[in-house]
């Protein structure tokens, strides 16, 4: 089928929107000290922060998918009293200033925290100042992005094909695996991109909950923030590294399938 054309006039706001996003970043490029860049970018602390960022963000995106995916399904498909409230509560981390979110995690899982004490006694596990804390902080802030965008996609998709699958004798898991998820791929793609990006850029909750120790908890945003104190231009250059990495990862990882099946 041919695509139905868009009104030409829409190109104007679309272009403006694009400009709002891209022009400032383009402006940054002009400020970069290209000569000093290689040294800066390959410095031990930058590379260690970058590696840590990619690892933790990937891991927390996975967590978001494994926990947030089911949550989105329940919110979109279940039907019980109080569902509307639940749906609003899921938005909490979106509005909480990230630093406060980090404090909340600290109050819960820190050594004086209710859950933290229990974890410590029961398993000898202490979360703060560990890489696991970084992942948790990122998961906390990024999960709502996955949940909300997935829930929207689930509602748009409807349930007709799932009903067909059930009448063919497919159990709930089979329906989920072979019908719901494949049909939802574009939505999952968007959700994963959003939550990965949010996790990668996460700063406030990480600093409050996990601290900032090179190699363990100092992700690239933390490194950039620190760098900024002494050398703003170096910080800008590092951010561009972050941006390039993220865009490459996303462009490569977002499979073609996601870009629209039908």
């Amino acid at each position: 089928m041919t695509r139905i054309g868009l009104p030409r006039l829409l190109l104007a706001p679309a272009f403006l929107g694009f400009a709002v996003i891209v022009l400032p970043v383009a402006g940054l490029l002009g400020r970069v000290d290209w000569a000093g860049l290689p040294a800066l970018v390959t410095s031990g602390s930058a590379l260690s922060a970058l590696g840590l960022s990619l690892r933790t963000a990937a891991f927390s995106t996975l967590l978001c998918l494994l926990l947030g995916g089911p949550l989105a399904l329940v919110l979109a498909r279940a039907d019980f009293r109080g569902l509307r409230l639940l749906r609003a509560l899921v938005l909490l981390p979106l509005v909480l200033p990230p630093v406060v979110g980090g404090l909340a995690l600290l109050y819960l899982l820190g050594r004086n925290g209710f859950a933290g004490q229990w974890l410590d006694i029961a398993f000898g596990v202490r979360l703060p100042y560990t890489t696991a804390a970084v992942v948790l902080a990122q998961t906390f802030v990024a999960m709502p992005f996955l949940v909300v965008s997935l829930e929207g996609a689930l509602r748009t998709a409807g349930q007709r094909y799932e009903a067909v699958a059930a009448t063919l004798g497919a159990g709930r898991w089979t329906v989920l695996r072979r019908v719901t998820i494949p049909l939802l791929l574009p939505g999952i793609g968007s959700g994963v991109v959003l939550s990965f990006a949010r996790a990668l850029g996460e700063f406030g909750a990480t600093i409050a909950f996990a601290g900032s120790l090179e190699g363990t908890t100092r992700t690239l945003p933390l490194e950039i923030y620190l760098q900024r104190e002494s050398d703003v231009d170096a910080a800008v250059a590092l951010s561009l590294l972050l941006v390039v990495i993220a865009v490459v990862v996303i462009a490569v990882a977002r499979p073609r399938a996601v870009e629209g099946l039908r």
């Binding site: 007709r160 094909y161 009448t167 497919a170 099946l261």
Partner: protein, 355 residues
């Protein structure tokens, strides 16, 4: 004990469905009825896609009223094909067997695709299929799932003049070969006759008539059945080129059945010519009957013979021949107007409730 026992009551907006429907093992029921009479609603209730306000449902002794759709073993070919858009035609057909973890699911799927004459589309996505092709693949998908109860909602829709009879023949073979019951929704009396033991006529959410297919369609009591029927049926045993009727007459016709089977000869009342004397013309079938009744039927007159056979002729012809009830006349019908089909043996004496 019947294989399927069901009773549903559900209200959707201004529409209320209130239906009791039982099927015996292996019985095939055709559901007829005008648009909006509740046929698809009934199918959805049986399949578990719609929850009744009240009712019960048992299939093969299992109580299914609270069962999830996938636990019911009830397959539904819905009114729209709804092929999974992300799967090829083959994968669509394979879906049921795989979901049920049956061995050889791929071979099963390939076989069914071939049965519906769609083997060449195996690797196509649904959006690469025409309407009729998609309908055939959807039929294969429903059949391949081998449910305990098969529901077919207008399965021959959108099929061309070659495909429709072929699929009808396929369905007949499949439904007769198995001991599992099935329900077919259709707007075509021929489907009811060829495929079903019994006909249920729905109107405005209620069963207004039911009974053995040939009985309902020859002696319709509801307006809708009367309109959809318009056919004479004579039961008997098929012979080469015709049917040996239960009353001992041989009726020539175009047979679709092998000789020696239970069968019916089917022809329209409007195909019957009435003569005072045996005309000895090309028409092969001249049945001597006694006129039992005459009734106006639209702009025609329906003559009803004592054995139930009907003939529709114009009032002018009635006048010209001077017909009156009690007379012996010849009902003459060309062999080419008579279809002889195998009948499902069990339809003779069902145990359904008659109102």
């Amino acid at each position: 004990m019947s294989a399927l026992s069901s009773r549903f009551r559900v209200t959707r907006g201004a529409f209320t469905l209130d239906v009791q429907l039982d099927l015996e093992a292996g019985e095939v029921v055709a559901v007829l009825g005008p648009n909006g009479s509740g046929k698809s609603t009934l199918m959805n209730l049986l399949a578990g896609l719609l929850r009744p306000d009240s009712g019960h449902l048992t299939l093969g002794g299992r109580d299914l009223v609270d069962a999830q759709p996938h636990q019911r073993g009830i397959g539904l070919l819905a009114q729209e094909p709804l092929l999974f858009p992300h799967l090829t035609a083959l994968a669509n057909v394979e879906f049921g067997p795989r979901a049920q973890r049956r061995a050889g699911s791929r071979e099963t799927a390939l076989r069914w695709l071939a049965e519906v004459d769609a083997a060449e589309f195996a690797d196509r996505r649904p959006r690469q299929l025409s309407g009729g092709q998609a309908q055939r693949v959807a039929l294969a998908r429903a059949l391949a799932a081998e449910p305990d109860l098969l529901l077919l909602d207008e399965p021959l829709n959108a099929l061309d003049i070659d495909a429709a009879p072929a699929m009808r023949g396929l369905l007949r073979r499949v439904l007769r070969a198995q001991s599992r019951p099935a329900i077919v929704v259709t707007h075509d009396a021929l489907d009811a006759l060829v495929l079903a033991d019994r006909v249920v006529v729905l109107d405005a959410g209620r069963i207004v008539e039911q009974g053995p297919s040939r009985e309902v369609l020859t002696r319709p009591r509801s307006a809708f059945a009367a309109r959809i029927a318009g056919l004479n049926l004579i039961a008997g045993t098929t012979v080469e080129g015709g049917l040996h009727s239960d009353s001992g007459v041989v009726i020539a016709g175009r047979s679709t059945a092998a000789p020696g089977e239970n069968g019916v000869a089917v022809f329209s009342p409007s195909a019957v010519a009435v003569h005072r004397d045996n005309p000895h013309g090309s028409p092969r079938n001249a049945l001597r009957v006694r006129l039992a009744g005459m009734e106006p039927r639209g702009d025609l007159v329906r003559l009803r013979a004592a054995d139930g056979t009907a003939a529709d002729i114009t009032p002018a012809a009635v006048a010209e021949l001077g017909l009156e009830p009690g007379q012996d006349v010849w009902f003459v019908v060309k062999a080419t107007e008579v279809g002889v089909h195998a009948a499902l043996g069990r339809s003779q004496g069902g145990s359904w409730p008659r109102d």
